[in-house]
């Protein structure tokens, strides 16, 4: 038989999302109220896929003629993507009315982008990496320009499209060279013959081009120029998805494709590359973020800095580092989603109130919202006892284990710089009177999503062992 029951069962998270997309298209086509049905349908679908993948992490297998992997850390990534997308969908329900993109297809495109991310995390063949990447990226280009009447959104969409397609060019050319030197596109073959293959200059240049392409997608320093503009111009909830799901998916693709790099204690040939981009992104992101007055741009630069911390894990190249990267991605996803969620609540009708001074006096005006944002800012700054602290801790420890102590020290220094601009928001909220009392409309859907994210990062901070043990077991 082409597919046996166990294979089918392991594939269920992807099947749920894929069939969900088809059903959503039918709902959109035949229902007049698709805008109100689709968000709840997608939330249910994402929760089903996420909980299923979390529950069945131990079913590790390779299915569909060696094309896809299931179980283990692939399922952890599936859970990050789907739960993150569920949070984004909840945040969007009221936001897109305000923003002027009140269309049912908005939710469908979020679903397709999540399908792309899941395929990237599960890939065991360069075909699947490429297809997943493109499904995700093309959906993102559309999401960025969802409101086609806004010139800013159009511009963000165009910039994202041109630089994203540019990066795709690098990735495809890299894959072509990898195929030429390895004679196959199977990732398992590349992993097991990595030492042999790296003697071939063609292979090394292929991997390098592949990594350059993915450096665009993870928003690391020399390839970051699109990030602030795209995050500022696109809808806030969509920017939340770009900065979390998109980044996590690109990292999962790097981990899946180049797993050979992380398999030995010191066998990481590309350590210099990762070390350079990580140092540059950390410091550039943290220092330029200080100068920002628009909070979305500030978070964009902070996301560049976070890409730098994550790249330390890739440079370290051992199993602890992989576990640390996955943990950090889980924590980072939810803290960034929460922060963008609160920004989307405060944002006014025509993208007003995005200046950081709008946050002055929030502690008096909306104590709950201010408290949640304060927790999220502490977590993003990497202060204990929140998830962000342990993410950084695991990555830095892994770097020291690979004798990259200098990189870990630079990481700590850069985190110290970044504390300044995160805590500036907290100081503004609690110690400065508000300047203009614009109306803040909260709504239950978004509050549920934000409280869920905050609870998750607090849980990750108090019980980091649960996730890290789970992840380490499968590497």
């Amino acid at each position: 038989m082409f597919i046996n029951f166990q294979e089918f069962f392991n594939l269920i998270p992807i099947i749920i999302v894929a069939t969900g997309i088809v059903l959503s298209l039918l709902i959109e086509m035949y229902s007049k109220k698709s805008e109100t049905i689709l968000p709840w349908f997608s939330v249910l679908m994402f929760l089903a896929a996420g909980l299923h993948s979390l529950y069945y992490t131990k079913d590790v297998s390779i299915i569909l003629q060696g094309m896809l992997a299931t179980g283990g850390n692939v399922n952890v990534f599936h859970a990050i993507f789907t739960l993150g997308a569920a949070v984004v969908t909840l945040l969007s329900i009221d936001y897109i009315k305000k923003y002027g993109a009140y269309f049912g297809e908005y939710y469908i495109i979020i679903q397709t982008s999540v399908l792309g991310m899941m395929l990237m995390a599960a890939a065991k063949d360069l075909f699947v990496i490429f297809l997943g990447l493109e499904i995700m990226s093309v959906s993102f280009y559309i999401l960025a320009g969802m409101n086609r009447k806004k010139a800013g959104a159009n511009e963000a969409s165009l910039k994202y499209f041109l630089l994203g397609a540019f990066a795709t060019g690098f990735i495809v050319y890299g894959i072509a060279l990898i195929y030429g030197s390895a004679q196959t596109t199977s990732i398992d073959f590349i992993t097991s013959n990595f030492a042999e293959l790296t003697k071939n200059l063609l292979f090394i240049s292929g991997v390098l081009l592949f990594l350059i392409g993915f450096s665009f997608k993870i928003a690391a320093f020399p390839f970051h120029m699109w990030v602030p503009d795209v995050y500022e111009g696109s809808p806030t909830t969509v920017a939340a998805l770009f900065s979390t799901g998109g980044k996590a998916a690109a990292f999962s693709a790097i981990l899946a494709t180049l797993f050979a790099l992380f398999n030995g204690p010191n066998g990481n040939l590309f350590t210099p590359y990762f070390a350079v981009i990580s140092v540059l992104s950390m410091f550039y992101g943290s220092i330029v973020a200080i100068a920002q007055t628009n909070i979305k741009r500030m978070l964009a630069y902070s996301s560049i800095a976070h890409a730098g911390y994550l790249a330390i894990g890739l440079a370290a190249g051992n199993h602890d580092a992989v576990a640390g990267v996955i943990f950090y991605l889980a924590a980072y996803t939810f803290m960034n989603l929460g922060a963008f969620g609160i920004i989307s609540l405060l944002e006014g009708k025509d993208e007003t109130n995005l200046d950081i001074n709008s946050y002055a006096g929030l502690g008096n005006r909306k104590p709950l919202l201010a408290g949640l944002l304060a927790v999220l800012m502490f977590a993003l700054a990497g202060l204990p006892p929140f998830g962000g602290f342990f993410g950084k801790y695991y990555i830095f420890v892994a770097a020291i284990k690979s004798h990259l102590t200098w990189l870990a020290i630079l990481g700590v220094l850069s985190s110290a710089i970044s504390v300044y601009f995160y805590l500036r928001i907290v100081v503004l909220m609690y110690f400065k009177p508000s300047e203009n009392d614009f109306a803040i409309e909260t709504n239950n859907n978004a509050m549920i999503a934000i409280v869920f994210s905050v609870l998750l990062i607090i849980l990750l901070g108090i019980f980091p062992g649960t996730l890290i043990d789970l992840v380490t077991k499968f590497i």
């Binding site: 360069l126 075909f127 490429f130 297809l131 493109e134 093309v138 280009y141 559309i142 320009g145 086609r148 009447k149 010139a151 800013g152 159009n154 511009e155 963000a156 969409s157 165009l158 910039k159 499209f161 041109l162 397609a165 540019f166 795709t168 060019g169 690098f170 495809v172 050319y173 894959i175 072509a176 060279l177 195929y179 030429g180 004679q183 196959t184 596109t185 120029m225 602030p228 503009d229 500022e232 111009g233």
Partner: protein
């Protein structure tokens, strides 16, 4: 005289760098997009050349995938360029600067 694999690789590498240079130098969004297509096509040429050289068909299969994806990307990309032209009546990247670049 037979045409060996090196000729194809050199030609495709040349095409690739022409594409990269086009993206970096040209200012018209459509031309930039054409340069990106050139990069994708240079990858296609490499894949086909390797496929024929190695005698396996994976590379040719991959080319079909790349072409399909490039078509989808072109559909979305041209739609984005049309949307921005309606708003700003220009497709020159230097004049599209509401956001700080």
């Amino acid at each position: 005289m037979t045409i060996t694999i090196e000729y194809y690789l050199i030609l495709s590498a040349f095409m690739f760098f022409v594409g990269v240079a086009g993206v970096l130098i040209r200012r018209n969004a459509i031309v930039v997009f054409m340069s990106i297509e050139l990069m994708l096509n240079s990858a296609n040429l490499t894949l086909v050349a390797f496929s024929s050289y190695l005698g396996n068909s994976i590379g040719q299969l991959f080319v079909f995938f790349v072409m399909t994806v490039a078509a989808a990307e072109a559909a979305v990309g041209l739609a984005i360029i049309i949307a921005i032209f309606r708003n700003k009546l220009t497709v020159n990247i230097d004049e599209i600067n509401i956001l700080k670049w």
